[in-house]
Every structure is written in C-alpha cells, then in structure tokens.
C-alpha cells in the first residue's frame, strides 16, 4: 500500500516526456504534492504506480520576464512567488494570494502548477491568475502549446489536461505597465476546511479618472473559475463612482452562481458578503493604479 512504487525526477522537459511515455502506469506528475499526496493517502485520488517529480525541471522553476510577459514556472514554490520582486511588481494580486496560502512550510513546496492542475474553481492562486489574464503553457510529446484559463478548466476538479500525457510548464502573464494594478483578497471561516468562503481578484487599468480596462475573478462563482465579465463590461470606460459600482454589482450578482457549500457558507451569505469584498478589492486596485 505504498503511495507510489516509482519516483522519477526528470531534469528536463524531454526527460519528463520520456517518463510519461515509458514509466509504469498509472502515473501522475507531482510538484509540491501538498494536495496530491493527501488525496492519494486519503483515497480521493485513485492509486498510482509512478510519480514524476517536476520540481527539478529547470524550465519549470524559472520566474522571469520574457518580452512583454512574465513567466512563472509551474514548479516555482508559491513562497518564492510571494517574495519575488518581479511578481510583486507585475502580479501583485498573485503575490497576495500566494501569501495567504497555508503556512510557510507548505508554501515552500506548494506550486501554482499543482494548484491549477487540481482544477478547483476557487483556489486562491487560480483566481488571481485568472484576473491577471494568465495563459498556461502545456507540454506533451507533441510539443508545447498555450491555453487560456477558460479552455483549461472544464468543471470542478476537471481540467483539459490529458492525464498522463500533458504537463503544465508554466504561466504567462502580461507584464504590468503604468496605471495598471491588481489586488486579491478573501474571506475565510474560522472553522472547518481551509478553503475561502469567497475570494476575489481584480486587475484594472486606469486612464485619469476612468477605468480603461478591468478583469474581475471571483471564487467560487461557478463550477469553473469565474470571470465577472458583465460587471467588467459595466465598469469598462466608466469613472469609478457609487452609481456605476452599484450597476456593476448588480451585473455581478446576476451572472455569478453563488452556491451553498454545506458547513461553509450559504448562497445568500456569499451574495451578501461579496458586496463589501468586491468593493474593497476594486477600490484597492484603483488606488494602486494611480
């Protein structure tokens, strides 16, 4: 009843692909493993023969600017992201989310790759990445491709990744320019599982007194990570004031599906608290974008 029989530590993507092709199955890539190993141990994940440890693949541990984009390797521990000056500058919402995940001993091994591959619709890292317009780079024996979050997430716990064939290499985020800023916040419940009742990330660009562009992500607002596109449409091009905010809120509440999670939060509680959270996050991002 070992959690795994074979443990492979490829150093390059091609070694990883080789392992995908030849290692005993079932197999699964492992990054931090902070969720995966517990899922395996507690029977939420079907047993595997092989773990392919992707934390030593050089390409996947980079965090760097590439042209107009920031690249964050899927195996970069979230603590490194939280403290990285490039990330703080170009993806503040993400660093704020990373700082809130578990404690430092978990953050030092947990990764965004694992977070996203797990495909939970409200994971802190995922929600921040969504608002930051991240694209995932996927590698397989056929080569690499980029995929938007919209295509990546199919449903709760379900991603478009082909299991045992594909790997998330990293994430590309547009780098931040002047008058662009982001923010992430969440609301927790002190009892039970350490999942937020509600989290929210906003990225926006300001043009003098108006919102030039905005992206709003809220979790859990549906079966996949939720973008409040109608609220975004309402706010885009508008000055930020009470009236427009009210309209945006209305659009958000009409579009989001706030469900009831037993022992965590009821749907109407979420609808109630999203008001303050949304306002707070938008206003903070707005101030930062000055």
């Amino acid at each position: 009843m070992n959690l795994w029989q074979n443990y492979i530590r490829p150093k390059t993507l091609s070694e990883a692909m080789d392992a995908f092709a030849h290692a005993p199955r079932p197999l699964i890539p492992i990054a931090g493993g902070t969720d995966l190993l517990l899922d395996l141990e507690q029977g939420r994940h079907s047993p595997v023969q092989t773990l392919i440890d992707v934390t030593s693949i050089a390409e996947m541990t980079l965090l760097e600017l590439r042209g107009d984009e920031l690249f964050i390797g899927a195996s970069v521990p979230v603590n490194r992201i939280a403290l990285d000056p490039l990330a703080v500058r170009h993806a503040q919402a993400l660093t704020e989310a990373c700082n809130l995940i578990a404690g430092p001993q978990v953050r030092n091994v947990a990764t965004l790759g694992g977070n996203v591959a797990h495909a939970l619709p409200a994971a802190d890292g995922t929600i921040a990445l969504l608002a930051l317009h991240a694209q995932a780079e996927i590698s397989s024996a056929l080569g690499t491709r980029r995929i938007s979050f919209k295509e990546l997430f199919l449903g709760p716990g379900k991603s478009a990744l082909k299991h045992g064939e594909e790997l998330i290499v990293g994430f590309y985020l547009p780098r931040s320019t002047k008058h662009q800023a982001s923010c992430f916040k969440r609301i927790m419940r002190p009892q039970g599982v350490a999942l937020p009742i509600l989290n929210c990330a906003v990225w926006l660009e300001r043009k003098t007194a108006a919102i030039k562009d905005i992206r709003i992500a809220i979790g859990p607002g549906g079966g996949t990570p939720f973008r409040a596109s109608q609220a975004e449409d309402t706010l885009r091009g508008q000055p930020l004031n009470e009236t427009i905010f009210e309209s945006a809120l209305e659009a958000l509440l009409a579009q989001a599906q706030f469900r009831t999670s037993p022992r965590r939060a009821s749907s109407d509680y979420r609808q109630h608290i999203v008001v303050g959270l949304f306002k707070d996050v938008v206003e903070t991002a707005w101030r930062r974008a000055q």
């Binding site: 530590r9 493993g33 902070t34 190993l37 440890d53 578990a102 404690g103 978990v106 030092n108 002190p190």
Partner: protein, 934 residues
C-alpha cells in the same frame, strides 16, 4: 527504477537506498533515528515535522524522501553546537526554555526550526513577522505568547551578542525560598534539542506493528467477521478478535461498558469500535491486513443526540438503556424562588463536541518480559488505571503489568481512557514480541472520547436590584457510545450550572445520555466549560434587562466566604472571586482607556466603521480534586542519593502542564536545596506510587502535598537521626542552602546520606496523602475540598458586513491559592485562554448520523498563533489552608470563562446573542442584515 538518495543531514552525508512511498520524515525518524522531528498529523496541517531543506522550512511528513536527493537537511538535532563534547544551545533553544515556551514539547522542534529559518532571513523580526512565519505551526498547549517572546528574545541576543533576556514573571505573594519563584522545566533542555523521547520514538528488538480494524458503522450488530485473508498475508504475525480476549471483555474508567473488541452477534455502538487487531512485521503490512478483514453488519437506527436518546420508543444502545445518569441538584424551594423574583428569564443554549487535538497521537507499545510480565509504554493520564484495565482484560494479577509512562505530547483529559494499551498487551502476549500501536490522526479523531456536546436550558429569577433568587437548569449531555467519565463530567456541568453565585433556590437536572456518536469524556473544564457558557450568557442577558452594569451584577451575587453553594457546601475560606472581578474590571479600564460605562458599548474602529469593537465579561469557578465523596489520594516517594541529590517519584501524569516542576520545587523547598538538586520521576507503576488520575485540576494539590509531606517526613527522619548522633535537640538542627547545620557541624546531603546509611537507615520515604474528605452530591456538606475562581474579559472586533470575529485582548484573573510555579502557571493561563478561544470560535467536531465528518486535522481547526490575542494574566492568591503552601488547581479554571467573555463581547459589539458554539459568523452577519432591512 529505484535509486539511491544522497543527502546531507545536519552536516553529515548519507547515501541510502530509496524506498517506495517513503517520506522525508520517515527517513529521518526510522532510518537515521533522528526522532526529534515529530509527526502530529501527517497531513501538512500542524507543522510539528518541520525541517529545513536547503535552508527553507518544509513539512517533512508529505515531502517525498527521494526529492531530498542532493539536498541539505537541517533537523532540530543539528541546531545546537557541540564544543568540546559540551552542548551549546542555539539562542532559540535557550530562549524557548527560559521563557517557558516549552510545555509538552511535542510541537517545539517544528516551532524552533520554523523560527530558525525566519531569523536567518530576517534577524530583526517584528511580532507580526514572527506570527506570519509561525502561522500554521500549531501548539496545543498554546504557549503562543511565550513562543513569540522567546523568538524575539533569541533574535535580540543573536543581534547583540548579549545573553537571552529573561521574562518578567511575578513571584507568588506568598514568600518561600523555592516554590513561588520562576524556575525552568527540567525536561526543557531535551525537548529543545530533540532528544526528548515520546512513545513513538521508541523501538524494541523484533518489534511488531499493530493496527486495529474499526467497525466504521455507528450502530449495528456484527454478523460476520472473516480474518482469513488478513491472516494469510505474508508478514502478518497475529490477527485477534473478541474470541481471543483472555479475561474480562470490557474496559472503562467508572463503568466497564466499553468492549475491548466487538464480537460476532454483539453490538457496535460507534464508528470507532474495534472488531479485530493485527500485528505484523511492518506498519504497512498491518494496515493492509486490517483492510483485508471482511465484516458484515446488521445496521440499526442511529441515535444522534442526547435529546433524541431520551425520547420514548427509540432504540436502546446499552442493556440498561440510553440514560447513563440523571443528575440532580436541589437547594431551596423553586416555586418560592420564582414567586419572589421580579424578573424571570429563560433561554436554551447549545455547545458543540470538541476534540483535544493533543499534537501527539496515541501510541502504546507492549513488551513481554521473560518472566511473564508485560511492560506497556504509553502516554497516560492515569497509569495505575491503565494497569488495572489491562490486567482485568488479560485475566492477570495487576502486578504482572507495568505501565511505563513516556513524555506526553499533550493530554487535556483526552488520554485518561485506554486506547491501544489493552490491544498491544493482547498482541504482545500472543506473539511473544514487542508490539507498537500508533494511531494516526484520523484514528485519533475517530476513536478517543471528546468533549460532551450539550443542550442547556437556563431559567433564572432575580430581584429588580439584580440579586439572584432562583436558578433552574436542565442539561442534556451527549456521552456518546460509552460512559468513559461521562457521569462525572456531566455532574460537574450540573453542579456548576448556576455559576459562581450565591443563589437561594436552585434546581438542576441533567440527563447524561448514550448516543451512537464517539464517546465523550474528560476534557479540560470537565463540563463546566459548557454550563459556564450558558449561565454567563444568561447573566449578561439579565444585566441588560435590568439595566445593571454586567460587572456589578456579578459582584452583587458573587460567592464569598460564608456563601452556601448549590450543593449545600459552606465556603469557609479561599474564595478570591471578588478580587478577580475587581482586578479584571480595573485592568479593562486601564488597557482600553475607557470608563466602566463605555466598556460594554459598541465602538466603531477608526476609519473602518464596519469593524465594531467591544468588551465582554464572564466569571466562573471550578473544583479542585475529584470530590463527591471519592477518596482523593496521591502517593509520592522522596529519596536521597549518595551524591546528595534527591528524587521525587509519583505515578501522576506530566503531559506538559508542569507538574514535574511543581514536585521539584516542593521538594527543593522542604529540603532547602536548589531545585536542580531534585530529580523527578513520574508515570511508572513499578517505580512510583499511585498519584491517582491527572484530572480535575488536582495534581498540584494532591501530588504537591504528597511530595511535600514525603519530603517533610524525610527531613524529620534526618533531624531525628542527626539529633541522636550528635546528641542535640532536634530544634538545633537547621536546613539551609543545601547544608544541614548540626550544632556547629555543617553536613552536605552527600554526607547526610553516608551518615544515614551507615546507621542502617535508608533515606527514602513514601507518603500517601489523602485530601480532606468530601461528600456525595445530594447529601449536603463539602462536595469539594477547594474551588478555584476565574474571571475573564475579552475585547472583540466584529465585522458587521461579514460577521467575522477577532479577539483582540483577553484579561484573565485566576485565584489559584498560591502560584507554586509561576512560569508554568503563565503557560497554563495563556494556553487556557487559547483553548477557550478555540471552543468559542474555531473548533467543532462534526458527526453526521454517527459518521465523523471532521476525521482529519484539515477539517478541525485548532487556533494558531495568528488568532492569539494580547493576553494579560493576573494571579490572585487566596490561599487554601490544606493546599501545598496554599495552592489549589489552575489547569481548567483558566479556560472556562473565555467562551462567554467572547460571546458577551460580540453581543455588546453588534447586538447578536450567541447561544450556540462555535460562533457562526454567517449567523452574525445574517442577523445584522435582517435587522437593518427591517
């Protein structure tokens, strides 16, 4: 495809063959025998297993060992420097000991390693930095303030090169040489360097590993049990079932109603009932074999709560029915009382089940000896009752069993019942090999007894001026599948259900009911935590109705010397309640800068009007000792050795609370030696007399007294011997600073030893102390020999939009009679507040239709350092004449008023009355928005 793992651990290189499925913590603990790294949960929740990998702290319990290949690991064992064979502690280690941050010690390696990484990165951290770094490193003794202070002190010492600054802990007001002064733990050193041995750290030659197969159904009859596949699995050495039980089939602490294993045709009463036990060559084989056991059940309807359990026509779980005990308190005349009342209020409260979540899961090792005896290594709060229960089931004389208690990683009442002790004895007896049974966190959560969930209806009558006239309470307690200490716990809940108040007419009825939930038993507070929440909420409701200031209402009714308690006991001394009330009240004003009138009003936080702050207040009392007519005894040995050192021994439990320091200080006091000259041995039924159960805040009192009188008797013997030898009057012999002065001669204790033994007198005394007699409930008279009193005030901040609650400050005053061990006392008080805070805000053990929902630590929130408020401890010392130097218990009282202080503060902040714990922030938000919509 298995490779070697090459790694550096504590600057030493190793190359090891990789083992499939191995984690770094297992490699460290089992292959390198570096057992300083502890396993609390194996689910990356508690942080006890933290080690540094290439300088970064990680949880080693879910870190694949193979990933450590090529990396450098630092564990707690690698922190201290060895200079010329002398160990030089790292300043963090030293500071943890000096500041009293070490209690049970189980979490300490994780705390220190995490802090070490922080200080490497940030040599000058703020309190916030420390808290952020230690966010998920749990301490259930909850010495968070001392941990924080220790880290800050170590950081300063590292920066300046100056010695560690010591904490400022006031001495007792009662002046003595040793007792009443701060002294560090004698086991602090081994706990900070990682050499402290807890049960799971032990291995024996040829040791087998055990696993109990649990029923995993809440109620039903076992109809079929097939162990053949398990038995056939290679590596399995024994599979035993109920048929193999040699002696009595049940265990228990008061009532023997808990089956060692449920046999075919017998009733399963909760998910944790054992139906078979396995011993195998490895833990993995044992686990696998357990899973291969096939069982079938005839499922029965499930009794899910105590109110349902008492209804007519429901299934009866035990032969005697579902009622464990109807407990009654009667005083005065209720009809008269309510008739005389100007106002009558009635309300029903509910409290949840909680788990002790001691960080060290249960572990027992049975070791068969060549002479037919059996040693059992375990952490136990009642070693002698473990011995009795094991012997009873084995069909042996008790002398055949020796309980060898190990360091305990917390108990809090949760290690009073036997868990694996009997099972390992059975397996070790059959296999003739040592057998270890270690619970994982999952099994610990499923199986051991919890805090009773209760429903408490309070009806209270008062005069217009606030004087309480009548109190009627009706309690239901969920004692789960087996009695454990349920009857005693609910008795305490009942007798304390009218609060620490002088009330003429009192009636209380309690129904302690069996259900199909996990059993409930002892848990710090012992029922009073629950009833204090109800009555103290009611006091604030009454204060509001009568428009009387809540502190004043309590002052007006507080028990005082001369009061008669609900059970008819006259309080003749040591009632420090009023002083606690006064001191907390004035500290509240001082800390907040508010006037008394302003304290309990809502105050919006500056700049953030949705955050509203206010204070809440609560009082409580709690008996010291078993009471109710139970003989309350403890034995202690004090022995002088040839080198002039002493040893004091008692089979009482040290679970982190600090009894060992108390015993040491007491003997040092009596023998006039420095405390370092006294060694302490506890929890060994062969080597130390029975100290009785470590429960009911009793050990400082009873074992403190036993140690004291044993030492005193030894001193008298020395005096008598020396008087005779030197032909002087006994009064002329003085004991001072480790020297015995006899008429011009000054003898060291080493010389005294020689003198005594030469005369054929072995300097060793056993003393059995018996506390003052008590009376059973219902007979009047003294039900308890002492009470401790406690008052707490909490300042909370409530977010009106989300309902989120933060506790900002807590002031806790406790009348402990006398502060024998001020540093340990501080740890108890702070930890008590945090456990109370957990009960109020974070903790809920959830069972649905008999199935445990909170079966992993990830679903059960133990408060961490981030939730720790600023805690002010005020010690009140109304000495009790019989207690050692005036001391009475503190372990429980310091945790009892926290919950109602917090919930009363929430009401004062936002007007939402919490009548069900834990506090539901959604309910707060909902009440506020519904009110505002109106």
């Amino acid at each position: 495809m298995n490779n070697n793992i090459s790694l550096i651990v504590n600057e030493q290189s190793y190359t090891l063959e990789s083992i499939p499925g191995e984690t770094l913590s297992t490699l460290l603990r089992e292959r390198l025998r570096l057992t300083g790294t502890k396993i609390g949960c194996e689910e990356a929740e508690c942080g006890a297993c933290t080690v540094l990998v290439d300088g970064e702290p990680v949880v080693s319990c879910i870190y694949p060992a193979e990933r450590a290949d090529g990396k450098s690991i630092l564990t707690i064992e690698g922190l201290a420097e060895h200079v010329h064979e002398e160990m030089k502690l790292h300043p963090l280690q030293e500071a943890f000991v000096e500041h009293g941050a070490v209690q049970c010690g189980f979490c300490i390696p994780g705390q220190i390693m995490t802090a070490y990484a922080l200080l490497n990165r940030n040599p000058n951290p703020t309190s916030d930095d420390v808290r952020f770094a230690l966010k998920d490193t749990l301490c259930r003794c909850a010495g968070y303030p001392t941990i924080e202070n220790a880290i800050l002190a170590a950081a300063e010492s590292l920066r300046t090169g100056e010695p560690i600054k010591k904490p400022h802990i006031p001495d007792s007001i009662h002046e003595h040489k040793s007792v009443g002064h701060t002294h560090t733990r004698h086991d602090g050193m081994e706990k900070v360097v990682g050499t402290a041995v807890f049960t799971d750290d032990l291995v024996f030659d040829g040791m087998l590993y055990a696993k109990a197969r649990r029923a995993m159904i809440p109620h039903g009859f076992l109809t079929k049990l097939d162990i053949s596949k398990a038995r056939a699995l290679p590596g399995v050495v024994a599979v035993l079932t109920a048929e193999d039980i040699p002696g009595e089939k049940t265990h228990g602490l008061v009532t023997f109603d808990w089956p060692v294993m449920v046999g075919i045709g017998e009733r399963v009463r909760y998910v944790g009932d054992a139906i078979a036990i396995v011993a195998a060559e490895t833990q993995q084989i044992a686990d696998q074999a357990s899973a291969l056991i096939e069982a079938e059940f005839d499922l029965q309807p499930v009794i899910t709560n105590p109110v349902q359990a008492r209804q007519e026509g429901v299934p009866q779980i035990h032969e005697k029915g579902n009622l464990l005990k109807h407990i009654k308190v009667r005083k005065g005349d209720m009809e008269k009382g309510f008739a005389e009342s100007d106002i009558i209020l009635e309300h029903t409260f509910h409290t949840q089940t909680t788990d002790h979540a001691f960080l060290e899961p249960e572990c027992s090792i049975g070791v068969p000896l060549a002479d037919g005896r059996m040693e059992i290594y375990c952490g136990s709060q009642i070693p002698y009752q473990d011995r009795e229960q094991v012997a009873r089931v084995m069909g042996w004389d008790q002398s055949r069993v020796r309980i060898v208690g190990q360091l305990m990683g917390g108990g809090f009442g949760g290690k009073e019942d036997v868990m694996g002790q009997i099972h390992v004895a059975m397996l070790a007896d059959v296999t003739k090999r040592p057998v270890k049974l270690l619970f994982d966190r999952h099994e610990s959560l499923l199986v051991h007894p919890k805090r009773h969930a209760t429903q408490i209806r309070v009806k209270i009558g008062a005069k217009k001026d606030g004087r309480l006239v009548a109190s009627e309470t009706e309690l239901y307690g969920d004692t789960g599948a087996y009695a454990s200490l349920g009857e005693k716990v609910m008795t305490r809940a009942t007798t304390h259900s009218a609060g620490p108040y002088d009330i003429e007419h009192v009636r209380a009825d309690c129904y302690a009911m069996y259900t199909n939930n996990p059993p409930a038993g002892a848990f710090r507070g012992f029922g009073v935590t629950q009833s204090a929440f109800a009555v103290e909420s009611m006091m604030d409701m009454l204060a509001e109705k009568l428009n009387i200031e809540p502190v004043e209402l309590r002052r007006m009714n507080a028990l005082h010397v001369g009061s008669i308690t609900n059970t008819g006991q006259e309080l003749r001394e040591s009632v420090g309640l009023m002083e606690c009330i006064d001191k907390v009240s004035s500290a509240m004003r001082q800390v907040s800068g508010l006037s008394q009138d302003e304290l309990f009003k809502p105050h919006a936080a500056p700049d953030t009007p949705q955050l509203v702050r206010s204070w809440g207040f609560a009082s409580a009392y709690k008996n010291t000792g078993l009471g109710g007519g139970a003989p309350d005894k403890s034995g202690a040995d004090v022995e002088l050795y040839a080198d002039g050192t002493f040893q004091v021994r008692s089979s009482s439990a040290e679970m982190g609370q600090g009894l060992v320091t108390v015993m040491r200080l007491v003997v040092a006091e009596e023998m006039s030696v420095p405390p370092e000259q006294v060694k302490v041995l506890v929890m060994d039924t062969d080597l130390a007399p029975n100290g009785g159960p470590t429960t009911a805040s009793r050990q400082t009192y009873v074992t403190g007294n036993a140690s004291r009188y044993a030492a005193k008797t030894l001193r008298d013997e020395i005096t008598a011997t020396m008087a005779e030898k030197f032909d002087v009057r006994p009064e002329q012999i003085r004991f001072e600073n480790g020297i015995v002065h006899v008429n011009g001669h000054s003898l060291t204790y080493a010389e005294i030893y020689k003198e005594m033994t030469t005369l054929g007198k072995h300097p060793r005394v056993r003393y059995e102390y018996e506390a003052p007699k008590t009376q059973p409930l219902g007979t009047g008279g003294d039900m308890h020999f002492a009470f401790s009193f406690g008052v707490q005030a909490a300042e909370v901040e409530v977010n009106k939009l989300t309902g989120e609650v933060r506790v900002l400050k807590v002031i806790s005053a406790n009348d402990v009679g006398m502060a024998v061990n001020p540093l340990g006392l501080q740890g108890q008080v702070e930890g008590g507040v945090m456990m109370g805070l957990g009960h109020a805000l974070t903790e809920e053990f959830i069972v649905e239709n008999g199935y445990v929902v909170t079966d992993h630590l990830a679903r059960y929130r133990v408060p961490g350092i981030m939730l720790t408020p600023e805690i002010t401890s005020i010690i009140v010392e109304h000495a009790t004449a019989e207690g050692p130097y005036g001391a009475k218990g503190v372990g429980e009282i310091c945790s009892i008023p926290t919950t109602p202080a917090i919930t009363n503060a929430i009401y004062n902040a936002v007007g939402v009355r919490i009548d069900r714990t834990p506090v539901d922030q959604e309910l707060i938000a909902r009440e506020i928005w519904e009110r505002e919509e109106k």
